[in-house]
Symmetry: C2
Subunit: 228 residues, 2 copies
DNA sequence: CGCGGCTTTGATGTTCATCAAGTAAAGTGG
DNA sequence: CCACTTTACTTGATGAACATCAAAGCCGCG
């Protein structure tokens, strides 16, 4: 199984596994495997069979699907302990969406049958997991609706604020994705995403050097995002 | 509680309550209340406290929210046994979205604490409910992504097919919503929804008289929806 | 039978995608 | 480590798609 079982310090315990007693956690831990992924690697693939329960321990991942016409639609980009690949483990036997690492990431994997058995046995665990998965689904739906409602500049502002506030908690960060991926995220063309970033730069709202972003005037960006 | 407890014939038993034994179902039934809603009435309101578990027994409902700027965003329109108001009963204490009846509807209501207790006690029930809620969330996300990817005509075609296939299972039906509500659903302007319907009519793909719709050439509509 | 809301259509303008062409950056093989 | 190749980024010009505005028709309801 895994070499160094450091589940003791895992944030996840507080969230979903809070209801488990020590022996169960030990057993869970012995069923667990940690898997590292490099930036760009695919964690799971649309259509693949779901055989394990996975959650992101560290890094950053992108949830996406491919449209019939072959383009990529980014559904969300999310950080540790939001196990986006697992939204339908109880309702489907195959993944509906793909997940890939947009930064070097570590994923913890537990046999799905083990989790299901635990779910059946332990009501508190079941409820914690249900709450967590509902929250994630809700976040995705809300974000999608928020984006849909905005125009181009509003969307770009929104996504910059999302990275700054939700993901990195700092006004200075490196974009983890390409301009095209941002475009696929907010449903715009790549050219116009770049154009809008250039506009923001010209107006002194942000500083951009390649992937490096600094939000200079966050208030203005908030206004643009809201008004958009 | 309720006068005539006809839960025996409720389709819901097969879905979520399949795991419950007869006494529990009887108890559940005695906790249940049926509530009728007229077309247009609000079933629950964004921001309201969630105090009960609700599911749609008959009719048709619209899940929506109001944007900061006051416009309505329709999230989905759905039929019985897809209890859309309950997607976050385990993760939030207030509704994030509003639900209203777009046709005369009957909603079954069960005290939330009772459901939660059952969820904790009965693993099978918990799993059934989890699967159901996941499925609904997934359906909403998939539909939103499908719509987002299409252009105007594709979206209108998609929504007509949705009513014809998913909701009414017939090529001839009455639109349960106004043109504006369709526009709010697919994220387009009302005028352009109407224009597109007129175009379809002119091309002989559909017949439209007020709210009455007949899909004449369903194959063509499918092509438009897919290509859109 | 007249009033108000929903629907319809045309005209106009804005927003945004697409195309093209050029530049920078990042791999890749010798 | 450098030349080469490829991929990502950038900007401008153009046109298509779509929203908005306005005016008129329709329909249900008091």
């Amino acid at each position: 199984m895994n070499k160094n079982c450091v589940c003791e310090n895992c944030e996840f315990r507080d969230i979903v596994f809070a209801y488990l007693d020590e022996p169960t956690i030990q057993e869970l831990c012995s069923h667990k495997e940690e898997q590292p992924f490099r930036k760009g690697e695919i964690i799971n693939h649309e259509g693949e069979k779901i055989t394990s329960f996975k959650y992101l321990k560290s890094g950053l991942v992108k949830l996406y699907r491919r449209t019939p016409s072959g383009e990529e639609q980014v559904i969300t980009i999310t950080k540790p302990f939001e196990f986006v690949s697992n939204m339908n483990i109880f309702s489907e036997d195959r993944y509906h969406y793909s997940v890939s690492a947009v930064e070097d990431s570590v994923v913890c994997t537990i046999n799905l049958d083990f989790i299901k058995a635990l779910f059946l046995k332990n009501g508190g665990f079941a409820m914690g997991l249900m709450a967590k998965i509902s929250k994630i689904n809700d976040k995705i739906i809300t974000q999608t609706l928020d984006i849909r409602q905005k125009n181009l500049v509003g969307r770009v502002a929104f996504i910059l604020l999302y990275f700054a506030k939700e993901i990195y908690s700092t006004r200075v960060f490196d974009l983890p994705v390409s301009r095209k991926e941002i475009a696929d995220y907010i449903g715009m063309s790549t050219a116009n995403v770049i154009r809008t970033l250039s506009d923001f730069k010209r107006e002194g709202i942000i500083k951009v050097v390649g992937k490096a972003i600094e939000i200079v005037n966050i208030e203005k960006l908030e206004i643009i995002s809201k008004r958009g």
